[in-house]
């Protein structure tokens, strides 16, 4: 117990140290005229409220219901998504890759944490963690098992390592039993992980 208690105190003081150091740096940068703290507030707020996996889910649902959009998305995702500024301010270099009965796609960044922020928001901790980054390129089926996903033995697994400024999103397969569903209904089935390739969309209830 005494040891645990000491350990807790240690972690607590480390955390406070980081908080203090971050605050000090922000003050220095503000006084130097490098940043306006109000602009930092606005960036944080955007990622807390506006930019997240719902953006990507809307794009997937549109691709499931609009064959011309799907074709355009797979041909040039940045070009296809740019007119949808209300959904995502995607910018350049987005590549959408399609899951089929034959091929399952997974996205990773083994070197750091490259991730399609404009489509999915900030990456979850696991995506940036050593277990995922180390194993995704070597044992993707083992990684999928950690997510409770099992694929047929003969499905080709294609892992995309994001080693440059190109960014990837997976277009998952539309769940069966959703014929006639609206884009809004379908978007509810699209999970963040299904667009990274570590999950599949939810099924119809």
């Amino acid at each position: 117990m005494a040891h645990d208690h000491d350990h807790d105190d240690h972690e607590h003081s480390e955390l406070s140290d980081t908080q203090l150091r971050v605050r000090a740096l922000e003050t220095v940068l503000t006084e130097k005229g490098y940043i306006d703290p109000a602009a930092l507030d606005a960036i944080v707020e955007a990622y807390e409220t506006r930019i997240g996996p719902r953006n990507g889910a809307a794009i997937v649902a549109k691709a499931w219901t609009d064959p011309a959009f799907k074709q355009a998305l797979l041909a040039d995702a940045s070009k296809a998504v740019t007119p949808l500024g209300h959904i995502s301010r995607v910018g350049d270099h987005l590549i959408a890759v399609e899951n089929t009965a034959k091929t399952h796609n997974m996205i990773v960044c083994t070197l750091c944490s490259c991730y399609p922020w404009e489509i999915l928001g900030l990456p979850p901790i696991w995506y940036k963690s050593a277990p995922y980054r180390s194993r995704a390129v070597k044992d993707p089926r083992g990684v999928l098992a950690d997510f409770g996903v099992t694929l047929p033995k003969d499905t080709e697994i294609r892992v995309w390592d994001s080693t440059a400024e190109t960014r990837f999103m997976v277009l998952p397969m539309r769940p069966p039993g959703t014929e006639g569903w609206s884009e809004a209904q379908l978007a509810e089935l699209v999970t963040r992980d299904s667009m990274i390739g570590t999950g599949v969309p939810k099924g119809p209830k």
């Binding site: 003050t27 220095v28 940068l29 490098y34 930092l40 944080v44 979850p124 940036k128 963690s129």
Partner: protein
């Protein structure tokens, strides 16, 4: 550099642990760090490749023990110190004590926020035609620069196929060191799992990297 960040294929890190309903930030300071990094980057202080190299250059033990945004913070502080944008005495005091040249695009202010919500372009005008075409067989180079590179260790000296040409982009290997955009053609190169991991590899596995032309030779 052959650093701890280059994790592809390493064993021993264990299971992927998923946090349910994870918030964008777990602590307020994490959001401040993310925003500072974006702001300093966007207004010309440090480019993305400099920031990546600074994170990679953290001592391996620090890299592994620090949380994600701790790494971002430590790397930001280090690279601003190294470039003379801030002083150690200022960090100590928590206040600006010296005059420094402004960022090339000035103070990062409210007017700049919307600009960074749209991802910027890394495409640059090519200086030559692409050396490879889709379908070409290539071999990645066996290189081990002590400087920044985006060719992961597991994919060096491996035979693969050009699958896509993604345009001509800023070359991170020079941009990280302030040596300019040096635009290079960027390809998606796909490898068979067995080429990367040997005969015991999952036979259904294919892995691609985004490879700049200087990383490749014709196979």
């Amino acid at each position: 550099m052959d650093g701890i960040h280059d994790m592809g294929g390493m064993d021993g890190f264990g299971k992927v642990e998923v946090e349910q309903n994870e918030p964008p930030f777990h602590e307020k300071w994490e959001g401040r760090v993310m925003a500072m990094v974006r702001a300093i980057g966007a207004n010309g202080g440090l480019n993305i490749d400099m920031q990546r190299f600074s994170r990679e250059s953290l001592p391996p033990v620090v890299y592994l023990e620090s949380s994600y945004y701790q790494k971002w913070f430590l790397a930001l502080e280090r690279s601003m110190l190294a470039r003379g944008m801030i002083g150690a005495d200022e960090i100590e005091r928590g206040h600006s004590l010296h005059a420094n040249p402004p960022l090339s695009r000035g103070t990062f202010a409210m007017k700049d926020v919307e600009r960074i919500m749209t991802r910027g372009s890394f495409a640059r005008e090519p200086r030559a035609k692409a050396a490879y075409a889709v379908g070409d067989r290539v071999r990645t180079k066996n290189i081990h620069p002590a400087t920044h590179t985006r060719l992961p260790r597991y994919a060096r000296d491996k035979a693969g196929v050009v699958e896509r040409i993604n345009g001509c982009h800023v070359f991170p290997d020079t941009n990280a060191h302030g040596k300019g955009d040096n635009p290079q053609w960027l390809y998606t190169v796909v490898f068979d799992g067995r080429e990367l991991w040997g005969p015991d590899s999952d036979p259904t596995l294919k892995v691609s990297i985004e490879a700049f032309e200087p990383y490749l030779d014709r196979a």
